[in-house]
Assembly symmetry: C2
Homo-oligomer: 343 residues x 2
């Protein structure tokens, strides 16, 4: 594996000194970019994910913004299809799982896949994009609770009522589902590392819907099962969820070299709670990119001020870039973060 030329991001993950704060954006390859929308005119989202050449092209698109890391273009739901739960992306409605999980029998039928056999296109994309990059490549997966919620709700949810009804009412069935998902995610992240990614992010996007007690009981052991092994190869692991202000301590305890902080949490407060032995990633509000360049830059500076120049800060948003975001506002934030934080 060739060493990336710009290693600011990896140094920050390890809380080593950096020449400037590294910056990348969740969903930095996506609908806000005209070149992405152009590709989407000809291809579905799943075609982009399943065609290594296209996934590579999309992964590279935001490199022109000067970000300090690339994130592989893929979708957290990709493992569900080979597990036996096919889904589609309906126009404007997000993912739809064709047969949502409602019974123990359905859970028992889910397959614990081998990613080399079942998700070869993801690993091929990693091998294809790596030589093109002068920054580290981040791989990723959805975390078990987030994947379970899509399987049970059949798509996006407002209140996660079906997921929690199973979790509270049939904790053994829920644990069996979480255990299968955790093993798949563990294998999937290890396969991505073997294929060459320099870091991985675990997206527990919807886990913020749980109380700390529920997290410790129903989620933490499964995430720990994943992150214990994945951290072994010395590859930084970013552990992120939205609305997780109340979960920072148990998420840290579940694992992660870097804790991703959402936009509703004070970064300074998060650091004092997470502790100085972890790096933090975040946490500008994605909506602060929408108004003007000046507003975007002002909010970026606020995040830098909250981080206070501590080693181990990776600048990012506190959630994904919104599709209506002007590209030049994103560009302005990258330039500002680098200039303002230059040591």
């Amino acid at each position: 594996m060739s060493r990336p030329v710009n290693d600011r991001f990896l140094r920050a993950c390890r809380r080593e000194p950096v020449d400037a704060t590294p910056v990348w954006f969740m969903r930095q390859a996506g609908r806000y970019m005209p070149e992405y929308r152009k590709l989407r005119e000809k291809h579905t989202l799943l075609e982009l994910c399943k065609t290594p050449e296209l996934a590579t092209a999309v992964t590279l698109q935001p490199m022109r913004l000067g970000v300090d890391a690339a994130i592989l273009f893929a979708d957290i739901l990709l493992p569900l299809e080979p597990m036996g739960a096919p889904f589609e992306f309906a126009k404007g409605e997000g993912p739809i799982v064709h047969e949502p999980i409602a019974t123990r029998a359905q859970i028992d039928r889910l397959r614990v896949i081998d990613p080399d056999e079942s998700l070869p296109y993801v690993l091929a994309a990693i091998r294809l994009v790596k030589p093109e990059l002068r920054v580290p490549l981040i791989g990723f997966a959805g975390a078990p609770f987030t994947l379970a919620s899509y399987l049970i709700e059949g798509g996006k949810s407002v209140n996660f009522a079906k997921t929690k009804k199973l979790m509270y009412g049939e904790p053994e069935a829920f644990a069996a589902l979480m255990g299968k998902l955790a093993e798949v995610v563990r294998r999937y992240l290890l396969a991505q590392i073997a294929a060459g990614v320099d870091a991985v992010q675990l997206f527990d996007s919807w886990v913020g819907e749980l109380s700390p007690d529920d997290y410790r009981q129903h989620v933490q052991p499964h995430v720990a099962h994943i992150l214990r092994d994945v951290s072994e190869p010395g590859v930084p692991v970013i552990h992120f969820g939205v609305g997780t202000s109340a979960l920072l301590e148990p998420m840290r305890d579940a694992g992660g070299t870097v804790i991703g902080v959402d936009y509703c949490t004070s970064l300074a407060d998060a650091w004092s709670r997470v502790g100085s032995d972890r790096a933090l990633q975040g946490n500008m509000d994605p909506c602060a990119l929408l108004a003007t360049r000046e507003v975007a830059v002002k909010h970026a500076q606020r995040v830098l001020d909250a981080a206070g120049g501590r080693p181990g800060h990776i600048f990012n948003l506190g959630h994904g870039i919104l599709p209506e975001t002007p590209v030049d506002h994103v560009q302005a934030v990258v330039e500002h973060v680098h200039a303002s934080s230059a040591r």
Copy 2:
């Protein structure tokens, strides 16, 4: 004004000793009750709100469950129509504001209404229901940020992008909108108190989308403007929002005799942060009512354990009752809370 026979709820608001922990539920009058669904077959939601006899009937429906407070049946959006922003409830889609607010000129045209003239049916319902009750009556209003988000987004929102774009990009226009809404809400709650409610709740349902810094800058002064005056008549004020784990301190500083805690926050942690000079309301996960009676009761006991028998705990959910909730699970929780907490 006649004194309510059962004053457990009001005593708990004042952190006085009680014979048992008081319990009521957000949305305790609503779609989970068969008698409510029957009324809705004949009347729209707005008809129920605008006809004092019907609002009274709905307010009284959950009294058969033995709850320790009634909450007036109404909707937080009612003030918007007389302010000049009419809306409707579209089938299964929630509220739709016909002309969402996008410009300063629209904000300047909004009327700061007199509730006695513009919302007489709400005040008439309060006067009608009061003599029927043997428990205290809670009035309520939506808080300025939550109302502003409906006005700007035109309905419910996922990411509050338009609201925040205005807030970040045109802070003076946003403050003008918040100021008008705050003055309307202040007058509206004072009018409800004059009409006879025993307590009020301010629902800042969506404010949990903001960071503590944003809350302090853009919301806190407006909520404080409301709650300074509303607290004067000695009527308890419950201050509640969802996803507000990171906002407990600034929400407390904005005001409220009782701080409502959502289902994602640890109640014990919330109390140590809010301080012992406030009562707390909450915070069972509404989804824990869905599975079985036993699961519901177990989760209710967890909340009682977290409160630890401290004076000033009002048992409630951490968000509204879901429409699919079995009534007998709710009933079982009421009975358990009273029996388990009896002094």
